[in-house]
Subunit: 538 residues, 2 copies
């Protein structure tokens, strides 16, 4: 292929070209190449990916800026149709997509299939959000011409799209937190063009999804700048994307180091912009006295959650607190037996497998840390991680701050503590978390105070369950205080995620003919709104 601009017409939706998608067309960059690796075999996958340079990145950003005004002015129903088109396009290539996910990530096929469902469900959730219309936050303060000493003007408010959004996909959810993931779905729903910087670990998957989105954009008659997918070096193209004047906000899922670098870069801009980075969490679990009789069953369900997907979840429950005593011993022994029997698992990338091996080796060498059990290594897998669990007492945990760092993978630490009071003290000192899990009930002494402390430390608190498996709904918060995320006011999963990409605008004394629909007297879109501070669908 000599002319990259021909790529789109040439390619079927299931072809992988190793190309970015800019302006609705495939563009194979010429600034170096990368290749994905099958982590099960260690073999490089075809085709290689051509990385774009600054010029192509700037073109994608300019197109997004150009597309913005018209895209944000589309009706919510038009954007709902776009999201549903994307979902349908993904479903049409679901088999090829699942195959490629398995190749590039080593995740089991059943997971690839379920993640496709989650991704399309997420797109359709935002279509529902657009139809319901709460997101407009429409408000009307009626004029009071006779108010004394001065009359009150008619003032109305609605929220509009913030501007083009840069999205950095995660390694661990090649679909649901990647090219067509929650950040993209919520930004498009808000009316923001999106530029996705693809994760290098699953480029073929990214390209298939990226073209599915671009095709939906075209089929819905929208400006081709509404969506772009770019492959490029993070320190060059990623940074340039965040610094580009056209970009108004950033969504990121990944490491603490990577997220913090974007936060800093965004704050240093001439016009600072918000960064929603989901980064690091160890998701502490507290076992309260009322459940300790079930220590064996709890150990079984914990190990199930800990080892799910080779432990490669942001909400992986890596830390369990249990009151010292017989039940704790039962819990530790039972968890140990199950880990010993747990299979070695393929990790997402060679780098992640190596980091996991380093971190667990470091844990096992730490003074006061007992290695409880380790799964058996499987030499057939090129880049794997064996589940491992460790035990420490509270004083060791408190003195070794390294024990509070996230280990990405199926490593768990059991901390034996004195009582619930000590749990609360320790939780107060932990960094911000995505989740806190409590096993217990209302009869446990101190549980209310533990919950209150958890509210200040985490975005989501669970009872008698496990934090892996994040529901995509209206009441979900996938967020939390730093470093769980860079902005505790936001969630990256669930319908509230749209609020990250909106800003309010007031309309004072407007002629009715010039008002936007959500604040027209007749309420033609039938949105929920506040009239003089009273909520209703009027």
């Amino acid at each position: 292929m000599t002319d990259p601009s021909d790529a789109r017409t040439a390619a079927s939706p299931t072809d992988i070209l190793g190309a970015s998608v800019i302006g609705g067309r495939s563009v194979r960059g010429g600034d170096g190449e990368i290749a994905a690796i099958d982590p099960r075999t260690g073999v490089e996958l075809e085709p290689s990916v051509g990385l774009i340079g600054s010029e192509e990145l700037d073109r994608a950003a300019s197109l997004a800026a150009e597309a913005f005004s018209r895209f944000r002015a589309t009706t919510p129903l038009q954007r709902a149709a776009l999201l549903e088109s994307i979902a349908k396009n993904l479903e049409a290539i679901a088999e090829v997509l699942a195959d490629r996910v398995v190749l590039e990530t080593g995740l089991p096929r059943v997971r690839a299939v379920s993640e496709t469902g989650r991704t399309t469900g997420q797109l359709r959730l935002f279509a529902d959000v657009l139809r319901e219309g709460v997101f407009h936050d429409a408000r009307i303060d009626r004029a009071q011409p006779d108010r004394s000493p001065v009359p009150r003007a008619d003032i109305r408010l609605r929220k509009i799209a913030l501007g083009p959004v840069a999205v950095f996909g995660a390694s661990n959810f090649p679909l649901a937190f990647s090219v067509a993931g929650g950040d993209t779905a919520s930004a498009l729903a808000a009316g923001c063009p999106v530029i996705v910087k693809a994760h290098g670990a699953h480029p073929g998957t990214s390209e298939l999804v990226g073209r599915a989105i671009a095709d939906a954009v075209a089929a819905n008659g929208l400006h081709p700048g509404v969506f772009a997918l770019v492959f490029g070096r993070g320190e060059q193209i990623g940074k340039r994307l965040v610094e580009h004047p056209a970009i108004a906000a950033v969504g990121f899922t990944g490491s603490r180091r990577g997220g913090s670098a974007l936060v800093q870069a965004a704050a240093r801009r001439a016009v600072p912009i918000p960064v929603y980075a989901e980064m690091s969490s160890i998701n502490p679990v507290f076992l309260l006295p009322s459940v300790l009789a079930d220590a064996d069953a709890l150990a079984a369900s914990w190990i199930g959650s800990l080892t799910l997907g080779a432990g490669q979840f942001c909400t992986n429950p890596g830390l369990v607190f249990v009151p010292a005593g017989d039940a704790a011993n039962t819990f530790i022994a039972s968890a140990g037996r199950r880990v010993s029997a747990a299979p070695d698992a393929t990790m997402l990338t060679p780098g992640i497998a190596a980091a996991y091996a380093d971190a667990t080796a470091k844990l096992s060498r730490t003074d006061g840390v007992t290695t409880v059990a380790e799964g058996e290594a499987d030499d057939e897998i090129a880049h794997s991680g064996t589940p491992q669990i460790f035990a420490v007492d509270a004083s060791t945990f408190l003195s070794e701050t390294a024990l509070q760092e996230e280990v990405f993978g199926a490593a768990g630490i059991i901390v034996t503590v004195r009582d619930v009071g000590q749990m609360i003290e320790i939780l107060k000192g932990l960094e911000g978390q995505l989740t806190v899990t409590i096993h217990g009930d209302q009869t446990d002494e101190g549980v209310s105070q533990l919950i209150a402390t958890a509210e200040e430390r985490a975005g989501r608190i669970l009872f008698n369950g496990w934090p892996t498996g994040v529901e995509v709904g209206h009441a979900m918060v996938h967020g939390g205080p730093y470093p769980a995320t860079s902005d505790p006011r936001a969630t990256s999963v669930g319908s509230l995620a749209i609020d990250r990409f909106l800003r309010p605008v007031s309309y004072q004394s407007f002629p009715a003919e010039l008002l936007p629909e959500p604040v027209l007297d007749a309420n033609p879109w039938q949105v929920w709104r506040q009239i003089d501070g009273t909520p209703g669908k009027v």
Copy 2:
């Protein structure tokens, strides 16, 4: 007075001690002194103010941290009662307060009285917001135990307070944007303790208000760490406050330089925090063809808005665009006559008066800028500013970026342009604004595109009015893209301001006994909420 901790019992609500308020008590700092100046006479006012050092600042922050958990757990009705107590305490000292405002700011007494009403009205608005309960953003996603392939858990969401908030008051609204202003009212409403760094221009006013708040905190049986007022050097105490680990968010109204410095300091923290800084805006006004027959009347109302309060409003309309021609000439001539007749006005501080004199002198010397008229100086006033207006053509305006910088005071620039198309082009290139004002109607060609452009440049758009006089209501946005504010997702005026100081938390599979009230099945507080995505008061 030898023991500063006795100050509170010793002082009546109308005494001014030159002291900070920490832990519910007056604390006269020993780290240097400042004195306010009566800008009408140039005379230093008694008493001097004792500035606090780092140790006292840290104590205020520690007390706020200590107060946080209990304060955020108060019911909305308890916080409504606090806000109403503060309003009553201010009303009880209204006469003394107004006298002191006049002394310290040179503002007319009628303004001091009306601003007291605005401040108490603002406190009561947030009491209403607390009673209505929309701010909880309560959501319930009901369990689906039979869902396939996996059941859905019961998940509920509400918003909680972010943490202690640092507030930096403005010079130009000694009451409504200062110690008990919108930032403080909305943060307290959210359940966040507040530490106000007082503005040095009106310390006596600040102290009276600060003690009114502290007294209300005590009378409502709340922890004394819920509120503090500190006097200290900005570069030392202000910076330390923003950097203090106990502080979770910052509200600021002031200069672009000051606000940007806080934004940078907050981003460099180990745990970055949001800064809501309202900074700089020139509030462009566009006169469209349909209104040009009223050029004379428009000039009169413009000069009224421009010179109100010596032009010392963030929403002062400093820039008027008018199509070149006879009507523009009438407008300029009429505005000029009125400015020549406008009285010299006292400015807030010697520094503001000097900066205004510098900026207007620079404008008058700029190539292509015509000085249309200037008010008459009044040598009786020590620190005054004469209203001044200037005229330029579009090409001069576009080539001289200095013409786009805010001049704080009653200086206005009239820009003659070709047509509405050129207005739109110019508006696209302007920095972010608090307001854009349009005089015209739906018959003006290009008006829809002008509005669409204004939406992307400003937080509020007005028709056929003037932007000074910001209503405190539910639909008000006092915000906008950078540098109008540091965060266009927020407003610092109106009920939506509470959202700045809240964050969402999810509760998954909670025992009913342990759920917070806004998401209890019975909805005991009768808050508006979403059940499975459907809004209602159920």
